[in-house]
Point group: C2
Chain length 224, copies 2
């Protein structure tokens, strides 16, 4: 039975959501390759998890597979996409056009993966004028305005730590719905209800170092 879409997302554990997004992505690839069916075991191998886990995650969304057969690639993709609302293209912008920011700005894969980057921002007018990009660029003080006008839904923050919160505030003021931040430190979304996620590159490298232990690590510990 398919539960009410509006409600589902709330009750699904965050790690499960993360894996479901990976499964969605895998289905997109499989479809492109013309693979029409896939089993939970196969999916598990691709994600680096157990088949248990895959079936359980999928069943959070209600029944979809055919008991006894595998999952139909298209149906699975479609079902996850609708349930998690990731089956449409979202407009996004990048704030902070240093090396990392401009890499993301023109990240080639994004286009086919549900993200359309429609604007870039930087506080340096000089940089904006110098950079060659397909995407329109604007000075940082126009963030709120442009986000509102272009109805941008996702903001990607790639500015230095000091200006991360200010940037987030400007995005939120423009009505952004989600933020992905590369700045270290917590982003405070206040009571706006904006979804925030952080990628902390330095910390990820630290974690790898820690997992390596003193020298001989005890078994790969890939996070899920």
């Amino acid at each position: 039975m398919i539960l009410d879409t509006l409600e589902t997302t709330k009750n699904i554990p965050a790690p499960a959501i993360s894996r479901l997004c990976l499964i969605y992505d895998t289905c997109v690839d499989l479809e492109a390759q013309g693979v029409a069916e896939i089993s939970s075991q196969d999916l598990a191998k691709r994600l680096g998890t157990a088949a248990h886990n895959v079936r359980k995650d999928i069943s959070f969304l209600g029944e979809i597979g055919t008991t006894g057969a595998g999952y139909a690639t298209f149906l699975l993709k479609d079902h996850i996409g609708k349930s998690l609302n990731i089956n449409r293209v979202r407009k996004a912008c990048v704030v902070g056009l240093g090396r990392l920011g401009s890499a993301v700005l023109e990240y080639p894969i994004l286009a086919g993966r549900g993200i359309e980057i429609v604007a870039g921002f930087d506080s340096s007018t000089n940089r904006i004028e110098t950079l060659v990009a397909k995407t329109p660029l604007y000075p940082a003080h126009e963030i709120t305005d442009i986000v509102k006008r272009k109805e941008i839904e996702i903001g990607i923050i790639a500015v230095p730590a000091e200006s991360a919160q200010t940037t987030a505030d400007a995005l939120i003021a423009g009505g952004i719905l989600g933020i992905l931040s590369f700045a270290p430190g917590a982003i405070d979304a206040g009571s706006s209800g904006v979804a925030v996620r952080t990628i902390n590159l330095v910390n990820e490298l630290r974690i790898v170092s820690a997992l390596m232990g003193t020298n001989a690590a005890a078994g790969s510990d890939q996070q899920k």
Copy 2:
């Protein structure tokens, strides 16, 4: 009581390790700013967690704070650093020098944060010859050799999905101890014991989209 350093890491939950690394980083900053003491509550605010959590995480490493007073910044940093073995500089390399890879190659902050990038690799000889970088660059087929010779401990993978596993195999053959991969898809480290972590940019954006829900997200859901 301080537990045997060699043993500790194993018994600490992965999310706790992640937060401890963040705390370590925060202490580095605090020290630079001349702040000699900090409370669990203060740390919690900076990480975006609860004070409970901070104290619990720290106590996994054994006692260090003074009951009733806060934590001494230097001692805390030192203690976490020693316990998790993140208090020294690790040599790292970047494989794949596209936009993202070359951004990481010259990521300015890394130097002061325990990572020294000593080599870059790319399969395109042309790109290697064209790129201007402070770091020595090599063709991809020399990975195993150079990793061995330079005693590189961490490999950062920024190649397309198709070549990620091959790259990992080459790094592992060279005796790498840890891998941070930007490629989607699971990396199989076999029985090498190599620590692997993955940053999947596209998936993070998908997760943000999913958390945004249909439209009105129900409260910020920042991952810890």
